[in-house]
Amino acid sequence: MKMARVLRILACLIAAGTAFAGQASERQSAPFYNVDTERQIEGTIRELVFEPRYEDKAPFLILVIEEKKSGEIYRAEISPAWFFDYDLHKGEDVRIVGSSYSKGETRYIIARRLQCGGETFFLRDSRGFPSWRGGQRQMKKQGQHRGRGI
């Protein structure tokens, strides 16, 4: 039975490896959560927008933040809109830990932890695994609050 399972895994892999032609190619344009570029920024919310991310699976909440120290503008990717159930407003101060990257002139940050109004939201784990995809186990860990942490 164990051997059969191993062979099944192998067969699936080979099938995937040999399936080339005729398939629609979908490019992964969004950057991934890179732990090497992780940093913390503190700033003020200038704008709240919803933008598609990751092959248009769901609109994401994006915060446009002005960093206090440097005055630079960051576009912070928070989570799918349905997952985040806390009201943020323009002018609020936030602190974000996440993986940063630049595209052209624009600076981006994929948020892992968001602190705002005395609350902390854990949006991804330390390696960038999204909290909204952890299933029941992850939800229980976070006390059933969507995106809301301790």
């Binding site: 164990k2 399972r5 191993v6 099944r8 895994i9 192998l10 699936c12 892999l13 080979i14 099938a15 995937a16 490896g17 040999t18 399936a19 080339f20 398939q23 629609a24 190619s25 979908e26 490019r27 992964q28 969004a30 950057p31 991934f32 959560y33 890179n34 732990v35 090497d36 991310r53 990751y54 699976k57 990717e77 799918p80 994929i110 991804r124 784990d125 390696r127 960038g128 695994f129 999204p130 995809r133 952890g134 299933g135 186990r137 992850q138």
Partner: protein, 416 residues
Amino acid sequence: MRGRGLLLFFFFPFIGVLIIFFIFSSLNRSFVQDKTESLVREQLVATAEIFKVNLAHLLEEGYQPEDILGMYEGEKNIYYFAILDGKKNILAWSSRYEGYLPFSSRDAARTAPWILSSPVGKIFNHLSPFNGRDGEGYSLYLGYSLGSLEEMTARSNRDSRLMFSLLVAVGIVFFLGIFELQKRYLLKTEEAEEAHKEKERFREISAFTSAVAHEIKNPLNSLSLLFELLQGNASPEVRENAALGKSQVQKIGRIIDRFSDSLKPLRLNRERTALKDVVTAAREALAQESPRPDLEWRYSEAHPVFLNADKNLLTQCFFNLFRNAHEAMEKGTLSVEVETKRNKIFIRVADTGAGIQPDRLPQVFDPFFTTKDAGMGIGLYLARKIIEAHGGRIEADSRPGRGTTFTIQLPGGRHE
């Protein structure tokens, strides 16, 4: 076997078996898991090799890394994968989970596969270099779900727990059985010891009373002869008194004889006997001794029942029971019902007499227990002795004012 012995011979070995099972099961599970993991690892490395050949071919064909990604998406066990250049910079990547690609600069130097824990289970990670046809260096980074392996491990753990629980349950049932058996065994032993003591005591009393009876009978015989001589030689008025004295002495002799007979052990002379004949003989003997025309007799059996028994003793037994019933009622019905079940004969002798008081019922078969002025209390005792000598048992049930039923259970019996 007492509690300590039971603990030593059953409980401790069972606990030992449980411990051995637990250790063996844990070692076995660990071994199987390691082996399977290693096998999966080898297979996945081999699969990655096939991937790399395909990738090299596609890159040579002029496909861009981003274009190649789409061809590999959709495989449910692949959580993420990426194509890296020679300097381990990510050229293109794809992940089932938004933005999740747990590859860092620390992983760039890895040569062996590694396993990551994630909220969706363990993920097998593999980074392996390959060359394009143009000689340019690339690397393939693959994250493969070990969900099946985890599922298998969880199932194995569940099965082990189930087996362990079953073993414990069987053990509990087994020990309950052993304790119950032991309890019954101890009870039977105590009963047997009690019966043995009673038998010994009875044997001693029998020997003593037989000796006394023998010693009494000698002077009684002399006394009887003396009365006989006196009767022959004395004057008419004394002769009458001598005759009365002689009859009284003879009565004492008969009582002593009955008393001695009841104490003697029974020797059975078995023969094939029809139960109905035995009952009829007892009934006729009683009718001869004290005729009672107002008494109604009933006898019922579905089929003729035969048994291997001492006919005379069994007749004596039924005679005693009938006489007891006879004396208990002025007029009424005495019925005998016979039935057989599983090689056992059940005979119910019921009267419609005065019945026996509940507090006296347990003593009715005791020797010399009687509620009558004239009785010696030997009849029912003897009846029980005869039935027990045949390997059977007798019980009495009575409702005061309504009558008494004696139920005899004898082994064997056959319809013809």
